[in-house]
């Protein structure tokens, strides 16, 4: 079972918010994902569909791609929510990512926009990388910490 103890009740958007990745009491083998804001804050607009998507991916079985893939780690789920929260914030005009699983047990967030492609890979160990490709053939990549401003600007104008 994925270790969950380190993930419960971590800060998400602000100190009043939390992400819970936990066992489902009614279905012990199934992991649930819940994004919650406390203190009466409204949940971000992307919370429900992202919860549903992450819950689907974190419950994939080992070898889910027939090429020996590992299970998606709970840490990757936590990081994915952090990244999405940071990039989308509360701006409903920003497009939601498509989320896919990676062979190593991580997640990949993808935006395929009219003038550019944005892909963010979240390794199960906690590294987060961004890749940008323009329709003019340009490519740029690096740690998300160095590229977050650029990615955010692209999403803001999508």
């Amino acid at each position: 079972m994925t270790p969950l103890a380190t993930l419960a009740e971590k800060e998400l958007i602000d100190p009043a918010s939390s992400l819970r990745v936990s066992d489902n009491a009614n279905s012990p083998d199934r992991i649930t994902v819940a994004i919650r804001l406390s203190n009466g804050h409204r949940s971000p607009w992307w919370a429900a569909p992202i919860e549903s998507r992450l819950e689907q991916l974190v419950n994939l079985e080992t070898d889910w791609n027939s090429h020996g893939a590992r299970r998606v780690s709970a840490e990757a789920v936590y990081l994915a929510v952090r990244v999405i929260a940071s990039l989308l914030a509360l701006d409903e005009r920003r497009p939601m990512p498509q989320v896919v699983a990676t062979w190593q047990g991580g997640l990949q967030l993808e935006w395929h926009l009219q003038n550019s492609d944005v892909e963010i890979t979240i390794d199960p160990g906690g590294s987060v990388w961004a890749y940008l490709a323009g329709d003019d053939g340009t490519e740029e990549d690096g740690a998300l910490t160095e590229m977050e401003g650029k990615v955010s600007a692209i999403l803001a104008h999508a």
Partner: protein, 145 residues
């Protein structure tokens, strides 16, 4: 072979013709490794082209034909999977090699295993690997199993 100048040499079987086709099995149900591109079409995610230590599993079209098998045989018994199709020429142009690997260990016994091959990559950084995977995804054609 046709690897880029200066690239580290990778194993490559020159009995495999560059105009041959290869297929990679991709998990489609729930869009686990399939995305919608900017034109609204379904395509393989770059995440579908991650390799493990041995290489990236693919199946060679000419060997399937010689064994009187259809490409669809690659996903027999794999509900919710599709195939990503590429040319050998394309993968070689990106610096990858291809070697035959019939009857791979730990694989489900299947008639199509006779056509199993591995794409071989030179060691590269995470970002270089992502660029490579993106090119493979963009160049691939998704076809039903």
């Amino acid at each position: 072979m046709s690897q880029p100048a200066g690239a580290q040499r990778v194993p490559d079987d020159d009995t495999i013709q560059s105009d041959d086709l290869i297929y990679r099995r991709v998990r489609d149900d729930g869009k686990v490794n399939v995305v919608i591109d900017k034109n609204g079409n379904r395509s393989a995610s770059s995440a579908a082209f991650e390799d493990d230590a041995d290489g990236m599993s693919v199946f060679l079209h000419s060997v399937l034909l010689a064994a009187t098998l259809e490409p669809g045989s690659i996903v027999d018994g794999f509900d919710g999977y599709v195939l990503a199709r590429l040319t050998v020429q394309l993968v070689r142009s990106l610096g990858l090699g291809i070697v035959r690997d019939p009857d791979p260990p730990d694989a489900k016994p299947m008639p199509c295993n006779v056509a199993h091959c591995l794409l071989k990559l030179a060691p590269m950084s995470i970002t270089q690997n992502h660029r490579l995977r993106q090119k493979l995804a963009r160049a691939s054609t998704l076809i039903p199993g």
